[in-house]
């Protein structure tokens, strides 16, 4: 059987097994086996990387019928559950999608797809992320969910079979999204990821998580509406249902449906004005946040928009999408400064980085697409590492407030180093994200330097919030106990692998660029980016320099005399408090800068959402 179809079906099969397995041992075994199969199969995708696009017919009446049946069932179920929870806007959204779709399916123009499945380098890149990073998250979830339920024994009902079922269905649907050439199929998988995320966010069944789950559902259904209507327009007016045909059609004819499809992509990748669902998704257990943020959900969004980069290039609609990305990057980076909840910082940083990718996709030049693909890879690995670390830290220190993380270097040294590595991977030279940011900047100044303004100011904010957090991890006040031994192996394995990957994708980035990114850009634009050999050498030198840093800790601090910190008074023994002017011991405290008055969420988020909405409408209007 061909690999893409195998990946979709294998994940589905593992998911179905997990739904019926009740025993924990057997579940562990199944998840690990599933991970291994998916991992090996994803690596097998490299086989396709030697060639260009490959199409697979995959005609199956059974598959079509099953999808149709599943769609009807899911629509009805959504309507039912929305009515139960009095969310009538969602009922409306479902009806607005489902009814026209079924109507045109039966009474409208019928278009047959020639090839249902395809593989090219962009799908390979995203599939690799889904398979490897997503798979690692599933492994991690084993240990995490055990701790999670031990911790919330009373509050949260143990529904782990459902949980793991959803995780693997998610992976399956993601593979479906990236390999579908038939837009009808793509739409089906798209909706499945929406529903999975809805169920996963609502896993805790608390009031807050139910609320946020419905918010995610609503915003993604809104995007799905764009998808459905774009699909109908394409089918009825243009007579097209395949991605590859769409890509070579004349821009003037397809720009409106493409814009509609991009709305779905923007919603899924949590761009303003849709960004609030991703922030709400933070209530879910950490593996869900990691899956939604780094490898799956949001990557589906940027994947779709990036697909259309070639069509968007040079159009006003494309420029509006680029602006949405730029505005999102700027506002999300600013707001991230004010967040002290680690997961929210990660969420805002995700939104910001996806904004960068969308920005690149919107301008759609060959350099921008090159940069965007690298961003996708680097972001997925480093962000996933950060999420998984925060998940463990939260379980051990019972808080995910950054301010509570001082002394982590003593209490959880390995995790603290991994966190720092992940952060370095997110913004620091010479790590991955910075390489891509450099490429983005280059692409922007060649296209329209005014867009670079957003990047420049946003990057200044980015640096601020990451270093602030990094610094907090280094601060030590008083003694602390090492609590790292209780972290389970199923958590360590993904953490170590991801740390390793974070470094490796940076070291081997010229190779990755050459075998995965360059062929795609060449195929679509017939030209590609070449990085100067000199600059690569310099990056390597910097990498070596940074690599020396951890080594310097061996045998460090020998010829020094350790004294107490200066506290502005007579220190009391222990060095963490001093005698104040009333001769009363006063404990020292160090609080971070959050600049809430200036960059606060309440102040900036509405501004971002409104500008996003205006730009989105403008983009639609320009298509008409």
């Amino acid at each position: 059987m061909v690999l893409p179809i195998f990946l979709i079906l294998a994940s589905l099969a593992v998911a179905l097994c997990l739904l019926v397995i009740k025993g924990e041992k057997l579940r562990q075994f199944t998840v690990i086996a599933g991970f291994c199969v998916i991992f090996v199969a994803t690596l097998g995708l490299f086989r396709y990387s030697a060639h260009g696009v490959q199409f697979i017919e995959a005609h199956s009446l059974l598959a079509d019928r099953l999808m149709m049946a599943a769609e009807i069932f899911l629509s009805l179920w959504l309507i039912l559950i929305s009515i139960q929870n009095k969310k009538f806007s969602i009922v409306l959204l479902v009806l607005l999608q489902a009814l026209p779709l079924f109507w045109f399916e039966h009474f409208g123009r019928h278009v047959e797809a020639e090839y249902n499945i395809f593989v090219d380098h962009l799908s390979i890149v995203v599939a690799l992320i889904v398979g490897i990073v997503g798979g690692l998250i599933c492994l991690y979830a084993l240990g995490y969910m055990r701790d999670f339920h031990a911790h919330f024994r009373k509050e949260v009902k143990d529904r782990q079979p459902l949980f793991f079922f959803l995780l693997f269905i998610f992976l399956s649907a993601m593979f479906g999204v990236v390999f579908s050439n038939n837009l009808r199929w793509l739409y089906f998988f798209w909706e499945v990821t929406t529903i999975c995320s809805f169920l996963l966010i609502g896993y805790k069944q608390s009031e807050e998580s139910t609320k946020n789950a419905f918010l995610a559902l609503k915003l993604n259904m809104l995007g799905g509406l764009g998808f459905a209507w774009g699909l109908i327009y394409l089918q009825q007016n243009v007579g097209m249902i395949e991605l590859d045909k769409l890509m070579v059609a004349s821009k003037a004819v397809v720009i409106l449906p493409v814009m509609l499809l991009c709305i779905a992509g923007l919603a899924k990748s949590a761009q303003m004005p849709f960004s609030s669902w991703l922030l709400g998704a933070m209530v879910a257990p950490t593996p869900v946040s990691a899956l939604l943020h780094s490898s799956a959900m949001v990557k589906a969004g940027v994947y779709l928009v990036l697909r259309f980069a070639y069509i968007l290039n040079g159009t006003t609609a494309g420029f509006m999408i680029a602006l949405i990305g730029a505005v999102t990057f700027l506002f999300a980076s600013f707001i991230a400064i004010t967040q002290s909840d680690a997961k929210k910082v990660l969420a805002y940083s995700t939104i910001a980085n996806l904004g960068l990718i969308i920005l690149c996709a919107g301008i759609g030049t060959y350099q921008a697409v090159w940069a965007a693909m690298l961003l996708i890879i680097f972001h997925a690995v480093a962000k996933c590492l950060l999420f998984l670390c925060v998940g463990v830290v939260e379980h051990k220190i019972h808080s995910r407030n950054i301010e509570d993380m001082s002394g982590l270097i003593i209490s959880m040294p390995k995790l603290s180093i991994m966190l720092q590595l992940g952060m370095a991977g997110m913004f620091l030279a010479p790590f991955g994200m910075l390489i891509s940011k450099w490429a983005v900047l280059q692409a922007l100044v060649d296209y329209n330097p005014i867009l670079a303004i957003f990047l420049v100011y946003g990057s200044a904010a980015t640096l601020f919030y990451w270093v602030k957090w990094m610094g907090r991890l280094l601060v030590v006040t008083g003694e602390a106990e090492n609590v790292e031994d209780t972290v389970s192996d199923s958590e360590w394995f993904p953490l170590i692998t991801l740390s390793f990957l974070t470094v490796m994708v940076c070291l081997f980035f010229p190779v990755i660029a050459a075998i995965l990114v360059k062929p795609y850009v060449e195929e679509v634009f017939s030209r590609t980016v070449t990085m100067g050999a000199g600059d690569i050498t310099i990056m390597t030198i910097m990498m070596a320099m940074v690599a020396l840093f951890p080594l310097s800790f061996i045998r460090h601090g020998r010829k020094v005399k350790v004294v107490d910190a200066y506290l502005g008074g007579a220190n009391t023994p222990g060095g963490v408090s001093f005698c104040n002017s009333f001769t009363v011991p006063q404990k020292m405290e160090m609080k971070g800068y959050y600049l809430d008055k200036y960059f606060g969420e309440k102040r900036l988020l509405p501004m971002g959402v409104i500008s996003g909405a205006i730009l989105l409408l403008a983009g639609l209007v320009f298509c008409l």
Partner: protein, 286 residues
């Protein structure tokens, strides 16, 4: 060619601290005269550093000085990239990396004063970063290259095309040279509200390293200024020196600003001058 670059870099590594140190000495002399004092000898900064090298190494956390050593190394590397004629964006990234090592050192020291200083230093970095990037972008818009050597080889003075960008660079020079009104992270006077800010817990060799790194930084930032008039070597040097002493003069005539003023004024000035400048250039080229 590689030989020439090698010598450029070597000259920079050897002479940048000398130039930086002498400038620091001249700065003190000049400031003293402005305040009606005689002032220390011009070579005083070197005596200070030599003396620091003799001192005992006092630390709060054992590893804190490692960050300082890497700060120094990365700053030297940044300058080497710059004086080898390398890519301005890479120079900017490396510059930021160096500064981040310094900030992390401040955090690592785990003292309230260095902690506040480190955060303020971060605000300073956030304040000057945009201007540095716009300098690179502006130079690119004129010369169509991010390379320093192309900028130097450009036949006309860049300042003619980039007056706004130059002004924003001049504005943030004050931050990078740690001068009032923008010296919020390491105040020069230990009795003030944050004691010695980020450097509070550093002594001996580490403090000497911070000093030397600062000399290198001074030379790098003056190198940036030089690029704006690189077509004529004398005018270029004159422009750099004029900018330096203008900053010293401002230092002597202003009181320290709050962080809000540092951050937002830098951003706004950069926006108004650099962005206007770049926008105009963009539409002219179009």
């Amino acid at each position: 060619m590689p030989m020439k670059i090698f010598f450029q870099v070597l000259l920079y590594i050897i002479f940048a601290p000398v130039v930086g140190g002498i400038l620091a000495g001249l700065d003190r002399k000049f400031s003293a005269r402005l305040q009606g004092r005689v002032g220390p000898p011009v070579l005083q900064p070197f005596y200070d550093v030599l003396k620091l090298l003799e001192k005992e190494n006092l630390v709060v956390r054992r590893s804190q000085n490692l960050y300082i050593w890497f700060f120094l190394v990365v700053i030297i590397f940044t300058g080497a990239l710059f004086f080898a004629g390398g890519n301005l964006l890479l120079v900017a990234f490396a510059f930021a990396l160096g500064s981040i090592f310094f900030v992390l050192a401040g955090f690592k020291a785990s003292s309230p004063y260095s902690f506040i200083g480190a955060q303020r230093e971060l605000i300073q970095i956030a304040a000057y970063e945009p201007a540095i990037f716009f300098t690179a972008i502006g130079i690119y818009m004129v010369t169509r290259s991010f390379e320093v050597h192309t900028a130097v080889a450009f036949p006309k003075p860049l300042i003619i095309f980039l007056p706004g960008v130059f002004f924003s660079l001049f504005y943030i020079m004050d931050i990078k040279l740690r001068k009032s009104p923008f010296d919020i992270s390491t105040s020069h006077h230990a009795h003030q509200e944050v004691v010695k800010g980020i450097t509070t817990e550093f002594s001996g060799k580490a403090l000497a390293a911070i000093e030397v790194a600062h000399w290198y930084e001074t030379v790098i930032i003056l190198g940036f200024v030089y690029l704006f008039c690189a077509s004529n070597i004398f005018l270029g040097i004159l422009l750099s020196l004029a900018a330096f002493f203008a900053v010293v003069f401002v230092d002597n005539s202003t009181a320290r600003a709050k962080w809000q003023a540092v951050l937002f004024s830098s951003w706004i000035v950069t926006f108004v001058t650099s962005v206007t400048n770049i926008t105009v250039l963009y539409y002219l080229h179009k």
